[in-house]
């Protein structure tokens, strides 16, 4: 019995998702059958959560408008400069709610472009075929 219990513990430990820092329950991501996890780690990821009400979250901080994110992006570019990197080396991961207007997403991309970021990753949730 102890053996079985240890096996169960090992099973749940392995399957436990430790990436919850990147997951925001308020965001309902759009679905796509092509959304597969990336092969390797993303270089210098900066995750932005765009909520349905137009508010943006970066890390634990929340701002009510897209424009309000500028100081935080400046902080990120400063951090990259300290590490001898440029904003174009970083990837901005956009986790936008499925019902958010596309114009808001484009505004967010524009604000990031003005801060020097070039690479964007639009995040979607994997859609299982047949559902």
């Amino acid at each position: 019995m102890i053996d079985m219990v240890f096996q169960l513990i090992a099973f749940f430990m392995v399957l436990l998702n430790f990436n919850e820092a990147d997951v925001n329950e308020e965001i309902s991501l759009p679905l796509s059958v092509l959304a597969r996890p990336p092969d390797g780690p993303i270089e210098k990821p900066i995750t932005l959560h765009l909520r349905n009400d137009g508010g943006v979250m970066i890390g634990a901080e929340s701002v009510p408008t897209v424009a309000g994110i500028k100081p935080y992006l400046r902080f990120e570019t400063d951090q990259l400069t300290i590490e001898n990197k440029r904003p174009r080396d970083a990837t901005v991961i956009i986790r936008a709610d499925r019902a958010v207007p596309t114009g808001k997403v484009q505004e967010l991309i524009k604000v990031c472009q003005e801060a020097g970021f070039e690479k964007f990753a639009l995040r979607a949730k994997e859609e299982i075929r047949g559902h």
């Binding site: 102890i2 513990i9 749940f12 679905l31 059958v33 993303i42 990753a121 995040r123």
Partner: protein
């Protein structure tokens, strides 16, 4: 006087506390276990210069234009590919992209130079854009492998909000 030799002492393993702890661990992992769907990314490379001033890159291919028109409720009302309308069928858009790419294209090679520019209404729901990106990026074959179509995707300059 009776001297007890140590070697004869039987060390008894106390199982009860260990089982208690083990069950607590088990309960913790079961409670925190959650089936989370995998997430993936669509990569978009958009330097600021592409819509701004500067010398245009004449060697770059002209991007294929996909226009997404929003209905009053933000859902898709019309899809246009190079001014050809497809109604609201993303499947038809995918078939058009497949037929547009040269027939002798080998997987993952011929589409490298093709670029698609998405021109979306401001109020269009973001999930419709992801559907369009999915339609032009590829499809899942019967053996569950992904056949890639166009991987270079960018957005047109944003349109103003309706009535604004």
């Amino acid at each position: 006087m009776k001297i007890r030799s140590k070697s004869n002492d039987k060390v008894e393993l106390l199982m009860t506390p260990m089982i208690d702890i083990v069950f607590q661990l088990l309960v913790f992992f079961i409670m925190s276990f959650k089936i989370v769907a995998q997430e993936g990314d669509f990569n978009v490379k958009m330097p600021l210069g592409f819509s701004g001033p500067g010398q245009p890159d004449l060697s770059a291919p002209v991007p294929l234009k996909v226009r997404l028109v929003a209905g009053p409720d933000g859902s898709i009302a019309n899809i246009m590919f190079n001014d050809q309308s497809f109604g609201t069928e993303f499947e038809a858009l995918r078939n058009r992209v497949i037929s547009f790419l040269t027939p002798d294209r080998t997987p993952g090679s011929g589409s490298d130079n093709t670029e698609i520019e998405l021109d979306c209404d401001y109020d269009l729901h973001y999930e419709e854009v992801i559907k369009a990106i999915t339609a032009v990026s590829g499809y899942v074959k019967d053996n569950n492998e992904i056949e890639r179509l166009v991987e270079r995707i960018k957005f047109s300059p944003p349109r103003p909000p309706r009535g604004g």
